[in-house]
Symmetry: C2
Amino acid sequence: MDTMTKKQSAAQSLWQQAARTKRDSVNSLIPEAWRLPSIPSSNDQKDVTGIYIWQFLSAKEIEITETDACGIVSRTSSGAWKAREVAEAFSHRAALAHQLTNCLHEIFFDAALDEAQAQDDYFAMHKRPIGPLHGLPVSLKDQFHVKGVETTMGYVGWIGTFEGRRGSGNELIYESEMVRELRSLGAILYCKTSVPHTLMAGETVNNIIGYTWNPKNRLLSAGGSSGGEGALIGLKGSPVGFGTDIGGSIRIPAAFNGLYGLRPSAGRLPYEGMANSMDGQNSVLSVVGPLATSVASLKLLVKSLLSQEPWLHDPLVLELPWRDTSDLSQSQLTFGILKDDGVVRPHPPVIRAIDMVVDAIKRAGHQVIEWSPPSHTEGTRLVDEIYVLDGGHDVHSAFRLSGEIIADQVAAMYGKEPVAEKSASSIAAINVKKRNYQRKYLEYWNSTSGMTGTGRPVDAFIMPVAPFAAARPKLYNYYGYSTIINILDYATCTVPVTLVDKDIDKSDANYEPRNKVDEIAWRSCEITNHLSLDWLPLTINNCL
Amino acid sequence: MDTMTKKQSAAQSLWQQAARTKRDSVNSLIPEAWRLPSIPSSNDQKDVTGIYIWQFLSAKEIEITETDACGIVSRTSSGAWKAREVAEAFSHRAALAHQLTNCLHEIFFDAALDEAQAQDDYFAMHKRPIGPLHGLPVSLKDQFHVKGVETTMGYVGWIGTFEGRRGSGNELIYESEMVRELRSLGAILYCKTSVPHTLMAGETVNNIIGYTWNPKNRLLSAGGSSGGEGALIGLKGSPVGFGTDIGGSIRIPAAFNGLYGLRPSAGRLPYEGMANSMDGQNSVLSVVGPLATSVASLKLLVKSLLSQEPWLHDPLVLELPWRDTSDLSQSQLTFGILKDDGVVRPHPPVIRAIDMVVDAIKRAGHQVIEWSPPSHTEGTRLVDEIYVLDGGHDVHSAFRLSGEIIADQVAAMYGKEPVAEKSASSIAAINVKKRNYQRKYLEYWNSTSGMTGTGRPVDAFIMPVAPFAAARPKLYNYYGYSTIINILDYATCTVPVTLVDKDIDKSDANYEPRNKVDEIAWRSCEITNHLSLDWLPLTINNCL
C-alpha cells in the first residue's frame, strides 16, 4: 500500500465505522421483544406483507395497524382506543418493517409512548381529544427535524451534526414547522424514514441503512426518495406519513407500494425548517405531502394542517384555507388519458392498469379523451437541467464531510465530482423556458374545452407514475413520467389500481425499442408488483 | 480626431438620430389642434396641474377627466357618456401632459377612438355595456405589448425590434396577456407611458423622451420606474394605469404624484407576455399593479381582472378570486407605525404626514402601536444583491444594441460595464437568507398579537414610501423605504396624505446626519410637493 491508498483506506474505514455505529445505535432502540430471531433472505421470502408480518403481531395490533388514519382518529377521539395502544402497535409493526426492509433512519418509540400516555391522561381528564389528529401515529421522512433525534438525510457526514454543521446550537432540539403543527394537532411522532443520500433518486440507498426493499417483493425497490415512507406504510407500520417530491419522490414510493400519495403544488404545505438538498434553488421547488393507505387519510392530514394557518409561519406557504370541490361531485367529468409519453413505453401491466381505469371511469358515467399535450421531453429536459444548476456543489460538499462512497443511483446524476455551476443569466433563461412551457401546456389544457361537451376543459388527466410497476435495483433509468409534473407544478395524487399478474402481463418479445433508454426500461420488464397510476387533480391548482 | 473617437462619434450620432426619429414619430401622432404653441420652462411654470392645464380643455373635457375610473364606468355603462367622448377627452389631456412632462412612449389615440366608437355602436345596438370597464381609458407602462405600437422600454436599441430582437414575427402584433384581458373587459387602450431605461430607477429618464418631470413641480422627478404613469395620472391624462414594481416602481410615482398605487404580492395579477429586465430572475419578482386617483378605482380594476381568471393563462398567477375582507370593517383595527427606518431620516413633511395619519386613525376609533420589526437593513441589502445577480449582463446587452449612453441614475446600480455573474450556489444562499428574513419578519408580526387587545396581531403597518415628498433629479440615493416590501413580498397600497407646506415643514439646520446616505438625503431636503405614505394591507397577503 502506498501512502495515498493507506490514507484513503483509513478514511474509508472511518466513515464505514461511523455509519455502522449510527446503524447499530438506531437498531438498538428496537425493544428486545420486537426483534426477529432471523431475517429471511429476499429470495426465501420476497413478500413480507399481510399474512407474513401478521405472525409477529397480536390480533389487537393487527386490527389497529390495518385501520386507516380516519378510522384510527375516530376511535381515539371517542375513547374506543387509547392513544398509547395505537402508538405501541404501530411502533411494533414499524420495528418489524425496518428489520425486513431497512425503512427507518430514526426510532423514538419511547418519546411517542410518553406523548401518547399524556394524551390519554388529557382525554381521561377532559373527555375530549387534544386535536383533530388525537393519537394518530405519523411517520416522517428523514428531512424533518424532530427534537431528541438526528437528521442525517442518509449522509454519513451529517451524523452528529445539524445539517452537516457542528455547534449550531440546533442539534437535537430544533423542530421543523410542520412538526410543531402536527404535535399541536395531536399527532404522535415515533420514527423517521429512510432516504437515498442527496434525496435525488427514485430508489432509496445510502451508506447508513443500505437499501430499502419493497415489502411486496424484496428483490425490488421501495422507490424513492421517500422510499422509507413507501416501505413502512406499505407494510402498515404507519397509517400515514410525510414525504417530499421534486421529481416523483412522493409518487414513486406511493406507486411502488400501492399507496395514495399527494404531491401538492408548491406553496401549499409548510416546508419551513426542513433539511433539504440544494436549499434555495427555486426554479423547481421540492414540496412536502402525505402518503397513506386511503384517500380520506390524505384529506384528513392536509385539511388539519391547513387549519393551523401555516402561512403565518412559513413565508413560502400561500394563504389558502382548505377548499371543498364538492360542486363537481354531481357533474359528468372528463379525464385526459396519457398511456405512453412516446419516450419509454410503459410495461404491459401498467398499460393494463390504465385500461382498467378507463373502464372504471366509463362505468361511473364519466368520459375520457386522449391527452395529447405539448412534448413532455421539452419539459423533462428543463427539469433535468434544474436538478444540476449548481453542478453538484451542494451534494458533493455533503459527501466530502465524510468521504463516503456515492451510490451509483446518485452518481448517475451528480458524477463523482462537482462540475461548473450555472450563472445567473443561464438560470434566468431556464426559468423563462419553464414559464413558456407551462403556458403552452395550460393553453393545451384550455383547448380541450371544445372536446368535452361539459363546457369545461378536461377536469384532470391520468398517466402512469413510472414505466414499470416497481423498479429493479439500479435499473430506474427514466423519470419522465414523474418529473413532468414537477416542471408544470400541478397538484397530483397517486392512486393504486391493481397488482401485476404473471399470467396476463406478458412481455412482448418482439418489441423494437425506440431508443436506448426505452431499451433498458424494456429489458427490465419483469412481472412484479403493485401497479399505480398518477391521477391529476380535478382542476388545475385546485385539488384541495 | 483619431479613428477610435471618430467611430465612437459616428455611433453616437447614430443612436442619437434613432432616438430623435422615434421621439419625433411619437410626437407627430399628437393632432395639430392639441399641440401647445409653446412649452413654458420649468422655472416659469413649475406646477402644470389643475387650473394651468384646464385652460387648454373644454368644460366637458375637464368634467370627464376629473372623474375617477368608477365614476367614468358608471356613466359609460348607463349611456350617460359615450365611450368615444371619454376616449377623446383623455387623449387630449394625455397629449397635453406629454408635452408638459415627457410622460408618453407610445401614442395610439386613433385606435382608441375607433375602439370607443365600436363600443358606442355595440351599446346603441344591445343597450348594455360590453364589459365591466366599458369605455374606460387605461394607460399602460411601456412594458406591455400592444398591437400596432412598439415597446422600447426606453432602450434606443429596442426601436424597430421585439424586445431587442429583429424578425421575431411578434413585432407590432403581439399582445401581453393583461392587454387581452383589459380589452375583453371593455377598457380603451390609448397610450403607453415612459420608463427609465432598464426600469431600475426611481426617476424616469432615457435617451428617447429625456426626463419625465413631476407635474406638480417640474423641477422634481415624477418618480420611477412607472414615472410616466405617475405624471400622466397626476395630470389626470388617465384615470387609471398599470405599472410594475420590483423596488418601489408603482409606489414611488404614486407617492410623488399624490395617487393611490397598489403593489400586489407576486402571483396575483398577470405579468405574462410583458417585456422586462432580467426576465427569469425569480428571487424577487417584479409585479404588475394599478395606479389611480381613488382607492375604489384600484378595486374596480383588480376585481375586474380577476374575473377573467388570469390563472388559466398565466402560469405564475395563483387561482385566487377576489376576496372581500368586509368582515374587518366593523372591527377596531390596529396599525403599526414606522416613522423612520433608522438609516435615513424622512424629511420634515413626511414625518408630519405620518403624524396626521396617526391622528386620523385615532379619531376614527382605531389604534396604533410602534412598529419595531427586524432590521430593515438586513432585508434591503438582500434585495440590492438580487438586483445585480447577473452582474448587469441583461441590461448591458440591451445598451450595447445601440451604444447609447447610460443614465447616471441607472449607472449607479449597473455601472458602465457588466461584472461577474453570481453562481447557482450564491443565488441559492441568497434565497435562503431571504426566506429566513421573511420568516423573522412574520414572527415579529405574529408577536404583536399580545399588544393589540383585539386578539389579532397588527392589521397593517404604515410607513413612508421614500424619505422625501418627491426626489430632486439625481438625488434619489436611498430606496430602503420601498425595497423592503419587495423582499418581504407583502401586498401594499400607497395613499396620498397632504401637500408640503413651506411655512410648516422647516428643515432642521442643526441635524447631525447619521451616515453618508442620510447626509445626502438630508441635503436634498427642499420644500416641495405631495406627500404620500405607504399603507400596508389589512392582513398579510390578503389585501384583495
